[in-house]
Subunit: 164 residues, 2 copies
DNA sequence: TATATAAATGTAATATTATAACGTTACAAT
DNA sequence: ATTGTAACGTTATAATATTACATTTATATA
């Protein structure tokens, strides 16, 4: 039932150009469908986030964005991030104050984020079963669940091999 | 198997004075056992954190601490927090940048934090089963798990009744 | 008990992350 | 064309967290 989402990215080198192209096209259609605007700024920031699978901070993102738009201010990044998160195209990793692109934004999903503490690559794992069980547990004690943050730190397969 | 930890606190009013006293005594013995020093500052900060079950921010804590120690600086709080977290007496809630006292620090535990978005009270739920299943899932894809952050936002029973 | 060592704290400065407030521009629905 | 809303520009500042280095306190043991 649960399964790895962006498994190509976890299995070593993948065609990242194709991965990005697909992500951005998918983003276009999601926004179109939702009737929200993926403006030039928002699209560019999504592109920067998705340019790797590493978690990236807002100010790091600002530095990259400024290569094209030297006068850009932090709030521009945060506004775009707010939008992208709202639409589900980006996730915030709370334990890092950093952001990753969502590779499966089209599917409604309940995921855990797996973060490699060595290379900072972050992956999403479909964890519906875990969500269901935690939601059930919380309801048993009359807690009404709304949203779940689940972040698993550790080492990806590549880095754990390297560090042996 | 999984169960609510500080269930008295979730079930409405409880004897908070007794709760605190017990938490602090327990903290003393944990530190003694580990051979680490629960200094006056550290004990006081733990006491402030545990003075309610609401998540509290570092600077809020600083304000409280300054009632006694007007010259205290942020780093004093952060140092104490680092210590208390290291020892397991306090947890950081990543999604709030805030802290709560741990009511069951003596037991090795794998917990989810339940956060009421209305009253900010936070509870710990033993979620060993969920940890195990997520760890197993991650290992299947050759990810080596180290630590898991699990934070469930929602409404506690009291607040969900009130908001009806 | 003196003293060496490590741990804890004091103090100042600064880095990092994020938001508020308010004006202007662009879009898109009538 | 007008008008209302969403997006963006600009400035300032709030909120969170760390670094660096000096000083004091506790602990072990000579």
């Amino acid at each position: 039932m649960d399964e790895l989402i962006n498994n190509t990215a976890t299995q070593g080198p993948h065609n990242h150009q194709a991965c990005m192209t697909q992500t951005l096209q998918s983003a276009e259609s999601i926004c179109a469908e939702k009737g929200v605007r993926l403006t030039v700024i928002r699209r560019r920031i999504l592109e920067l986030i998705c340019s790797s699978h590493k978690a990236i901070g807002a100010y790091e993102l600002l530095d990259l964005f400024r290569l094209d738009e030297p006068k850009a201010k932090p709030v521009t990044i945060y506004r775009a991030l707010d939008f992208l998160i709202e639409v589900g195209l980006v996730h915030k990793i709370e334990s890092l104050n950093a952001f990753i692109g969502c590779l499966q934004a089209e599917t409604k999903h309940q995921t855990a984020i797996l973060i490699c503490d060595e290379c900072k690559n972050a992956y999403e794992l479909d964890a519906s079963s875990v969500y269901q069980s935690l939601f059930a547990m919380s309801k048993e004690i009359q807690f009404t669940p709304a949203s779940l943050t689940m972040e698993l730190h550790g080492l990806c397969s590549t880095c754990s091999k390297t560090l042996k």
